[in-house]
C-alpha cells in the first residue's frame, strides 16, 4: 500500500505545485488591493479573508462579495485570479481522475491486494501457476474439499471465469507472469503455510521456469509440473521437481493397463476421480490389430504401450518426416481412402490422436462407417468441444486436462494415495477385482472420499493418549461407529505406512502404533465419524470397551465408589 501512496504523490507533484503557486499569487494580490468599507474608509482584505475568498472562487462555489462591495481594483484582481486559479484546479482534478484510471496504478493496487490476501492466509494452501482447463478442475475440487488455493494466471479472460465461479472460500488470484520470481513470492512461495506449487500451463518452458524458480527459492516445497517433452522433464527432474506429469505418457500407461488389467485400471480411476461421481464400468479394449491416426506425442505413447502388450499397430500420419515415423501410411485419416489403405476393415480398434478435435471426430466417423465393430479411442483437446464428443460416444475419450487433474489430485489430497496406486500396479488383476468388490460393498457405487490420518499427538490426541496408557488400539476400533459400536463405519483402510514400510490393505486386527500413517477410503459420513473417535478419548474408549466414561466429576467419583465396592 505504501508504494501506491508514493506513486500517487509523485504523479501529483506538478499539479500540486501549480495550485500552490497560483493560489499564493492570487491571495497575495487580493490582500494588497485597496478597497472601501461601508463608511467610505480605506479597507483591505486580510490574508486569511483573501484565502477564504480565493478558495471559494477557485472551486467555483462563489459566495459573492463579502463583507463589503469590492472596489474596482479588487474586482480587477479577482477576475484575473479566477482565470489563474480555476484552470490549475481543474487540471489537478483531471490529473487525479486520470491517475485513478491509470492501468499501472490499478495493477499496483491489485498486486498489493493479492499479496496481502495471500499473506493473511492462516491455513495450508496450494499455488496454481495457471488457470487453464485442468487447473480450473483442480481448483474447484480442492476448494470443495476445503483446501485453499492461490492462482497466478497471465490471461485476464481466464481469471474473469474464476471471478464468476462460485467457490466456498475466496481464491486470491493475480493476472501476472508466473515465471517472474517476484510474482511467485507474492503468491506465497515463502509463506509458512504454503504446501506446494502446481504448474500446469500448456507451455513446457513456463512450467520449467516456475519449477526451477520455486526449487531455488524454497527447496522443501513440493512442486507438481506438467511436461510433455522428455528433455524438459529430465531438466525438471534434475532440479528436484517432485512430480512431473506428462498427460500422454499417463494415458498410454492407462490404456495399456486397461488392456492387460482392467480391474487395476478401475481401481485407479475410482480412487482418483472427483468424490461423489458415479463411474461407469469401462470396456475392455480388444486384442488384435489397431490403427493409430496421428503419430505425435500422444500417438507415440499409445503405440509404445500397445506394442508392449503385444498388440500390432498400423500408423497413419499426415507428416511422417516431422514426427519421425518410418513405417506408416501417409494421410490424415479423415478420408476413407487412407483408412482403407490401413486395412481398417480387418482392424479391431482405432485411435484418433491428432491435435485437432474436428479431424479426430471426422476420422472416427469415417472409420465407423467402414467398420462398425471398431473399438474407438479418441483424443479430445478442448473441453468446449464436449457436446460433440458426447454425441459420438466413443469407447474411450482421452482428455489431457482431466488426466492431469486426476493425477494432481492423487498427489495433493492424500500423498499416501499416490504411493498406494503405485503399489496397486504391481498387484494382479484378480487382486484388484477383489478389492473393488469389497470397496463397493462397503462404500457403494459412488466415488469415495480418500483421506489419510497419522497417529500423532496433534492429529489424533485420543489414540495417542490411550496408547500411552497402554491400552491397545487396533485398526478395527477405527472402523467402528462411535455412536453405536456394533455398527461399522463405511470405510476401508487401504494402506498403512509404518517406519516407511507400506502395508497394502492392512488386516483389520492390526494394532496401531504412534507414528503410523493410514490411508482410508469411505463415505463422507464415515470420515466425520472417524474424526470423532480419533479426537475424543471418551468416544474411543466406548468404541473399544463399550464403556461410557462419565462426564461430570461427581458422577465419575460415584462410579469409582461403586466399582471399589
Amino acid at each position: 500500500m505504501n508504494s501506491i501512496l508514493f506513486l500517487i504523490l509523485r504523479r501529483l507533484r506538478r499539479p500540486l505545485i501549480l495550485i500552490i503557486v497560483c493560489f499564493s499569487i492570487a491571495i497575495l494580490g487580493l490582500s494588497l488591493m485597496p478597497g472601501v468599507d461601508n463608511n467610505g474608509q480605506p479597507w483591505r482584505l486580510s490574508i486569511f479573508e483573501s484565502f477564504y475568498l480565493i478558495s471559494y472562487t477557485a472551486t467555483t462555489i462563489g459566495f459573492g462579495e463579502i463583507p463589503y462591495p469590492y472596489s474596482q481594483a479588487q474586482r480587477l484582481w479577482l477576475t484575473f485570479s479566477i482565470y489563474l486559479t480555476v484552470i490549475p484546479w481543474f487540471y489537478a482534478i483531471g490529473k487525479i481522475i486520470t491517475l485513478l484510471q491509470d492501468s499501472a496504478l490499478r495493477q499496483a493496487i491489485t498486486t498489493e491486494r493479492f499479496a496481502r490476501a495471500v499473506a493473511e492466509l492462516k491455513e495450508p494452501f496450494y499455488i496454481l501457476c495457471s488457470y487453464g482447463e485442468s487447473a480450473s478442475v483442480l481448483a474447484k475440487t480442492l476448494d470443495e474439499k476445503g483446501m485453499r488455493v492461490v492462482v497466478i494466471e497471465s490471461q485476464q479472460e481466464r481469471l474473469n471465469e474464476l471471478d464468476l465461479a462460485e467457490t466456498r472460500s475466496v481464491i486470491p488470484h493475480l493476472c501476472a507472469d508466473a515465471k517472474l520470481p517476484e510474482n511467485l513470492i507474492r503468491a506465497g512461495v515463502h509463506h509458512p503455510f504454503c504446501s506446494g506449487v502446481v504448474t500446469l500451463t500448456d507451455n513446457d518452458e513456463v512450467n520449467l521456469a516456475v519449477a526451477v524458480a520455486v526449487k531455488l527459492m524454497n527447496p522443501n516445497l513440493p512442486v507438481l509440473a506438467r511436461a510433455e517433452r522428455d528433455d524438459i522433464a529430465a531438466n525438471m527432474a534434475s532440479f528436484g521437481t517432485d512430480h512431473i506429469i506428462n498427460p500422454y505418457t499417463l494415458f498410454g500407461e492407462q490404456l495399456a493397463m486397461r488392456v492387460h488389467a482392467i480391474g487395476t485400471y478401475i481401481l485407479h480411476e475410482w480412487l482418483t476421480d472427483v468424490p461423489g461421481d458415479t463411474l461407469l464400468p469401462p470396456e475392455n479394449p480388444p486384442r488384435g490389430r489397431w490403427v493409430v491416426c496421428g503419430y505425435g506425442r500422444f500417438g507415440k505413447s499409445v503405440v509404445q504401450n500397445l506394442e508392449r502388450e503385444n498388440i500390432t499397430t498400423t500408423i497413419v500420419e499426415a507428416t511422417p518426416e516431422l514426427t519421425g515415423c518410418d513405417n506408416c501410411i501417409v494421410g490424415s485419416g479423415t478420408e476413407a481412402r487412407t483408412l482403407l489403405e490401413a486395412d481398417i476393415t480387418n482392424a479391431v480398434g482405432i485411435v484418433a490422436g491428432t491435435d485437432n478435435d474436428i479431424n479426430n471426430l471426422s476420422i472416427v466417423m469415417t472409420a465407423y462407417e467402414l467398420n462398425p465393430k471398431l473399438f474407438v479411442v479418441i483424443r479430445k483437446n478442448r473441453r468446449h468441444n464436449d457436446t460433440l464428443f458426447k454425441q459420438f460416444n466413443a469407447d474411450i475419450t482421452m482428455q489431457p486436462t482431466e488426466i492431469i487433474a486426476h493425477e494432481c489430485l492423487a498427489h495433493m489430497i492424500a500423498p499416501l494415495l499416490a504411493q498406494f496406486l503405485t503399489l496397486v500396479r504391481t498387484q494382479s488383476n484378480s487382486w484388484a477385482n477383489q478389492l473393488i468388490s469389497e470397496l463397493v460393498s462397503v462404500v457403494g457405487e459412488t466415488v469415495p472420499e480418500r483421506w489419510a490420518i497419522s497417529i500423532q499427538e496433534s492429529t489424533t490426541p485420543a489414540i495417542t493418549e490411550l496408547l500411552k496408557q497402554g491400552v491397545p488400539v487396533s485398526l478395527h476400533n477405527l472402523t467402528q461407529d462411535p455412536v453405536e459400536r456394533s455398527k461399522a463405519l463405511n470405510l476401508v483402510p487401504l494402506l498403512l505406512l509404518r517406519d516407511n514400510v507400506p502395508m497394502l490393505v492392512p488386516p483389520i486386527a492390526t494394532g496401531l502404533r504412534i507414528g503410523d500413517q493410514i490411508l482410508f477410503c469411505g463415505t463422507p459420513d464415515a470420515r466425520s465419524g472417524l474424526n470423532i473417535s480419533v479426537n475424543n478419548i471418551k468416544a474411543l474408549t466406548y468404541v473399544i470397551d463399550g464403556i461410557e466414561v462419565p462426564d461430570s466429576l461427581a458422577w465419575r467419583w460415584f462410579k469409582g465408589f461403586l466399582s471399589r465396592k
Partner: protein, 124 residues
Amino acid sequence: MNLEKVIFGFFIVLAMTLNFGFFLGDIDNAHHHHVYELYAAIIVSLIATVLKFGDRTHVGAILLSTSLAADIQLIAAAILWAALDGKMDQASLTVYIVSLSGGALMANFVSVILLISETIGQRR
C-alpha cells in the same frame, strides 16, 4: 549541475530563511513580525513539501517528515492569527505565533542539515 537539484535546494533553504526572517525580532512585539513574511514562509514551505513527495529513499522520507512538521506549525500559527486577531491582546498573540514559527524553524533547520549532509555524502 542539475536544474531539478537547484530548485529543490533553493526551496528548502528559502523555506528556512523566510521562517528565520519571520522569527527574528522581539517575541512579543507585533511590529517585528510581518504577516506577509509568514505568508511567504507558508507558501514556500508547502512547495518544498510537495517537491519532496515521491522520494522513496530513507533520507527522502525524513526530509518529507521535517517539512510536514514545519508546515503544521506554520499553518497553526496562521490559523491562530486569523482566528484570534483582535480578540486578545496583541503581545500575547504575537508570542503564540512567533513561538510556533520558532518550532517550524527547528524543523526547517533539520531539513537543511539533512540536505547538506546528503550532499557531502555524494562525493562527486
